[in-house]
């Protein structure tokens, strides 16, 4: 699968998308779900929780492992996706559509500190070796 060019990426394999309303939507990448395998459980942060950049805030659990999900940027959780909580396999089906939570960023410019699609592709390639 190609890595969408309109998203930003964390080194810890989360994707982040700046929405028109100023919020940032977060999920895990196709590469991350591929490594983890069949998803069985998603635990999202509570709405209203304040997150620091790189803070552990969610857990995705596959048949193989339970992994922490980190917040790509600082901000407050404003929404969580109950659909992926009810059907975690949606992350396997389309990781870039199956978002997990939305943050109202403290500073939207923080997104510039994340990787773009090309840099993320390079990271994935380097980790493959």
């Amino acid at each position: 699968m190609s890595i969408p060019a309109d998203l930003k990426y964390a080194k810890t394999h989360e994707w982040a998308k700046l929405e028109a309303d100023g919020t940032v939507t977060v999920g895990i990448t196709h590469h991350a779900q591929d490594l983890l395998g069949d998803m069985v459980f998603v635990e999202n942060p509570a709405v209203g929780r304040k997150l620091a950049a790189n803070e552990e805030c969610a857990v995705v659990e596959s048949v193989k492992a339970a992994s922490d999900v980190y917040s790509p940027i600082a901000g407050e959780v404003v929404a969580t996706n109950s659909e992926v909580e009810d059907s975690p396999e949606k992350i396997n089906q389309d990781a870039f559509a199956a978002w997990m939570y939305k943050i109202k960023p403290d500073n939207a410019a923080d997104l510039n500190g994340l990787l773009d699609a090309t840099a993320y592709q390079a990271l994935v390639d380097s980790e493959a070796h």
């Binding site: 069985v40 459980f41 635990e43 659990e61 596959s62 048949v63 193989k64 492992a65 339970a66 922490d68």
Partner: protein
């Protein structure tokens, strides 16, 4: 595995191959000050015959006593079939059942154990056991803190077994978890129900029956803790659950986590072990529960199969985020418990529990008639109660022991405020004659003490 010791030649060959002069050279890296040297307090070895003679002699001194001590370890009748079946070769394996296709029997047994424990406690799920009751409580405290998130305070009543409280303290003290001691009502010997704690806390621990054998007001306490947004951890005697309300039905919503000591269900009193801890919880907390869970499913051909579920949370995969630090699973004792519960059935368990309760009431009745004995708390009790005696507890217990009776647990070290108090327990193993004998000896000893108080240095 064959028993083949190394010969001198074998040892020489191994040393030569790694270029060492002697076995002693292998320890060169260890500074001399750290080597223990001769163990002067460990006696010399004995021959097999000497050991078996010694053990027989010691066993006889154990067996002669009539036991009225409970305090966390209880004497129950164990049908001979229990350990006869438990020690069959098929159950006698040290291997954990990770390889489901090779472990269906073990997995099925654990599945049945979990089903029975969930049913007994009235909870949704049970794990496959932990090390013992005290460490299970410590794990429950860690679990409550993990799932509560906003508070690291735990309300820990003084009516919880003193040893359990110590184990919890040691386990959590370096994790920033605060154990807040909750005093008991001096008249009732139970947690005061007008608890007033305004600070946030992660969980309230409720022992049922409590260490004094008294029944707590579990419904009021559970609802109070829930109204504060906190969890409830029940610490229960599994045998009592056949008779009294299971934790799953406490208050409006039931306890959240239930732990306890599994020993009463088929494990003999054996110098302190091996025992096992059980743990059950609500479905919502299952991913925070330490230990393993066995699930039942069907294979591709539709045949029933058993497998470990929620494995991703276990310590072997989640590492630093593991939900348990004690993965010890007391497989063999759990096997005995499962067989014990299967043989007795719900009716059998209820009969045993009712008989314990009746014997304890009968004993308390007899003791109440003795001058110099009073029941400290009014009850209700399950199969244990606190009595106060008119002479020092240690002296009375020593005199009873001289008559072949283990008269109870001396509370003076753990609860000095209770005065000369003893915790007594009568299970279903006691006959009317046994109870009578205890009461008669107690009366005789106390009346002798009244006539001639003992010299401090004579027992």
């Amino acid at each position: 595995m064959p028993f083949i010791p190394h010969t001198e030649e074998d040892i020489r060959a191994m040393l030569d191959s790694i270029g060492a002069e002697s076995i002693e050279n292998l320890f060169d890296e260890i500074p001399a000050a750290l080597r223990s040297g001769k163990l002067t307090r460990v006696p010399e070895g004995m021959s097999e015959m000497e050991v078996s003679r010694l053990m027989q002699d010691r066993a006889e001194t154990d067996g002669r006593y009539l036991n009225f001590i409970g305090a966390g370890a209880y004497e129950h009748h164990i049908p001979a079939a229990v350990w006869q079946i438990t020690t069959r070769g098929e159950f006698y394996s040290a291997y954990t059942p990770y390889q489901a296709e090779a472990s269906q029997g073990t997995l099925q047994l654990i599945y049945e154990y979990q089903t029975m424990m969930a049913s007994l406690t009235g909870m949704d799920v049970s794990n496959a056991s932990l090390y013992d009751g005290a460490s299970a409580l410590a794990e429950a405290v860690l679990m409550a803190v993990r799932s509560h998130k906003s508070s690291r305070r735990i309300l820990m009543p003084k009516t919880v077994h003193p040893n359990y409280r110590k184990v919890v303290q040691v386990t959590v003290k370096n994790q920033g978890i605060e154990l807040v001691e909750v005093d008991y009502d001096a008249k009732l010997g139970t947690i005061s129900t007008d608890l007033n704690d305004d600070a946030d806390f992660a969980a309230l621990v409720i022992p049922q029956p409590n260490f004094f054998g008294n029944l707590e007001e579990v419904d009021v306490l559970t609802d109070w803790a829930h109204s504060k947004g906190s969890l409830v951890i029940g610490v229960v005697n599994p045998m009592s659950l056949a008779l009294i309300t299971p934790p799953g039905e406490w208050g409006s919503n039931g306890a959240d986590i239930v732990v306890g000591e599994g020993q009463p269900l088929g494990a003999p009193l054996a110098s302190g072990g091996p025992y096992y801890g059980f743990m059950a919880c609500k479905t919502a907390l299952v991913r925070q529960m330490p230990g393993r869970i066995v699930g039942r499913t069907v294979d591709l051909e539709g045949k029933q199969g058993f497998t470990l579920t929620l494995q991703a949370r276990e310590q072997h995969i989640r590492r630093s985020k593991a939900t348990s630090n004690i993965c010890t699973n007391q497989g063999l004792v759990v096997t005995a418990s499962t067989i014990f519960m299967s043989l007795l059935g719900p009716d059998g368990l209820e009969r045993v529990a009712a008989s314990c309760h009746a014997n304890t009431l009968a004993l308390l009745d007899m003791l109440a008639k003795i001058e110099g004995v009073e029941q400290v708390f009014p009850g209700p009790n399950f199969h244990e109660a606190v009595i106060r005696v008119s002479s020092p507890a240690a002296d009375i217990l020593r005199a009873l022991r001289a008559q072949g009776i283990l008269g109870g647990y001396d509370l003076s070290a753990d609860y000095p405020e209770l005065g000369q108090a003893i915790l007594v327990c009568a299970t279903e193993t006691k006959t009317d004659g046994d109870l009578q004998r205890y009461a008669e000896q107690m009366e005789r000893i106390l009346s002798k003490r009244r006539e001639a108080p003992p010299c401090a240095y004579k027992s």
